[in-house]
């Protein structure tokens, strides 16, 4: 009976140690990256016809509110050799007709090379009669979900690389140049996928597809998410990339080697965590083929996206993330603790298993155990109090380190009182967001084991704040 508290203790210590180690590695790597890129002239790759071809694939479902503007934004990237494929995944609204009207689209005959089986086309494939929009291809197909739509895009693309993006993600002009760089400059390994930083656009002013003003959102829920993203991106991902152990690239925006993505069979339509699952599958493929490879990550902000601003959507999103993680880890459990898969199996998989997938369960179990102890009046209050205070202060400190790192690197939140607000939410987050995250994770587990057939969930488009 007295082993139990030790179990929780060991778990917490290892968790904290891992956060600290990852943070330090991230900091070192980020400084190195910023030095290397301080004098890179991205304009050179921007205008080069020798730069490799990229297809931006954006699945769209009932995005009618902003779709025309989002597409225009995607079309104005400063990269030269790219095209945009919008996959209208059986939308029930007027997305397609809006696009046809705005971009002078007509239907064309197109021979699709069906590398991956997808749901069939609906009204077909469209291109513009206006040469100014000749980068645009719009595909109208029967509904099949995000993964299925992405696979259709993979089939249609004729480029070497594909960038999978959420259609409402506001892509920065030089995002493609920055993200293609790891693919082009790594000579000792094959880069199979790359991702960057996603920023939260809530309350930001967007006009004409351009980010005009960066504001801090009003609700604690949104503020907490910003803090969470800062911690994850600034103090976590960079380290994983360095250790070549990155298991996930944000589903909002990522760049992939098309051939390999197709070779492994494209996205899995049976999982809700398709963005993580395809990375694991691609990594596994490369390990099996015994080829030296890398999943890269750059700390530059690449795109801005809307985060859930109400609890219902937030919980649904985190629920989905939980189920996605469970599904992916379960599907690929063969690589777990398997020395054949080197760091993928011995470091990445175990870490994700314990500190991403099981952590919420262990935490809730800890709370329940604590509750039982209170009931049985067996609590050593001196120990409990000391530890709780320490854990809380550590989490606040960690968040503040993330905030300071952001200021030292990209300093995106320039307005006056935002610094203070960020510090405040660092103090509040453990009480506000964290419990909700725990709840959604538990629900995710319950839903996964007891209710297998839950849809992806629609997020009602509110539209970004207009100028």
């Amino acid at each position: 009976m007295s082993i139990i508290p030790y179990f929780f203790l060991v778990f917490s210590v290892v968790a904290i140690a891992s956060y600290v180690i990852l943070a330090i590695i991230s900091a070192v790597e980020t400084i190195e990256y910023m030095k290397k890129n301080s004098f890179i002239n991205y304009k050179e790759i921007l205008s080069s016809t020798f730069s490799p071809s990229i297809s931006i694939i954006a699945p769209a479902y009932n995005e009618s509110l902003n779709i025309v503007e989002n597409v225009r934004s995607l079309l104005s990237s400063h990269y030269v050799n790219y095209d945009v494929i919008i996959v209208n995944d059986g939308s029930k609204d007027d997305s397609l007709s809006k696009l046809i009207k705005a971009y002078d689209l007509i239907q064309i005959d197109y021979l699709i090379n069906e590398h991956i089986k997808t749901k069939p086309l609906r009204s077909g494939i469209y291109k513009s009669t206006n040469p100014a929009f000749d980068k645009l291809t719009v595909v109208d197909k029967k509904n099949g979900g995000k993964a299925d739509a992405l696979n259709m895009g993979l089939n249609i693309s004729k480029s070497k690389y594909v960038a999978c993006i959420d259609v409402d993600c506001l892509l920065l002009e030089d995002a493609l140049q920055k993200l293609i760089k790891p693919f082009l400059e790594t000579t000792d390994a094959k880069v199979i996928a790359a991702g960057g930083v996603i920023r939260i656009a809530n309350s930001c002013t967007v006009k004409d597809g351009k980010l005009l003003d960066i504001n801090f959102p009003k609700t604690w829920l949104e503020q907490g998410q910003i803090l969470e993203y800062l911690r994850a991106f600034l103090l976590g991902r960079m380290a994983w990339s360095r250790l070549n152990g990155l298991l996930v690239i944000s589903g909002a925006f990522g760049l992939f080697d098309k051939k390999i993505a197709i070779k492994v069979g494209g996205y899995d339509t049976n999982t809700v965590g398709e963005d993580m699952e395809i990375i694991v599958r691609m990594r596994r493929y490369m390990e099996d083929e015994k080829q030296k490879y890398k999943v890269a990550y750059i700390p530059d902000p690449l795109c801005w996206t809307e985060a859930p601003d109400n609890y219902k959507t937030f919980i649904s999103q985190r629920n989905r993330w939980t189920r996605g993680t469970i599904e992916t880890l379960k599907k690929h459990r063969k690589i777990g603790f398997n020395p054949k898969y080197k760091s993928l199996g011995l470091i990445s998989y175990p870490y994700w298993l314990f500190f991403e997938r099981l952590a919420p369960i262990i935490e809730v179990a800890g709370i329940i155990y604590f509750g039982i102890l209170i009931f049985l009046d067996e609590v050593r209050w001196d120990y409990a109090f000391a530890f709780i205070i320490m854990a809380y202060l550590f989490s606040v400190l960690f968040s503040i380190v993330a905030i300071v790192s952001e200021e030292l690197t990209y300093h995106q939140y320039k307005k006056k009182s935002i610094g203070l607000k960020l510090v405040m939410i660092a103090f509040l987050e453990p009480f506000v967001n964290h419990p909700t995250i725990l709840y959604s994770a538990i629900r995710g587990n319950i839903d996964y084991y007891f209710y297998k057939k839950i849809e992806w969930g629609e997020m009602t488009r509110k539209g970004m704040t207009k100028a």
Binding site: S47, V80, A132
Partner: protein, 122 residues
Amino acid sequence: MSTIKKIVLAEDNSVLSLLLKFRLEKEGYKLLIAVNGKQAIELIEEYNPELILTDIMMPFVSGLEVISHVRNKLNLQTPIIVFSSAGQEEIVIKAFDLGATDFMSKPFSPHELVIRIKRLLL
């Protein structure tokens, strides 16, 4: 009563637009500067200039869209000179297809640009 000829310049490099403004205003033209394609279209619709200078690579509304808008939606025959960074042959061809009058690749000589402008505005 001779009217001053207006030129709309769409260019997001502030030094470059300042330089061109200085030079062209010395030659007697009036310069209206836009920092992106959308702004350029607004200026064109409001002031109906005698000449349009535009960079191809611009935020949100590209130079190509500006040309298309002027020729097809506004049905104007205003001479349009486009700038492009070296190597974008394909885009230049598209620009001409859409109705551009002339193009200069960057880096370019401002002197040369002025000569071409004068020729087009004779």
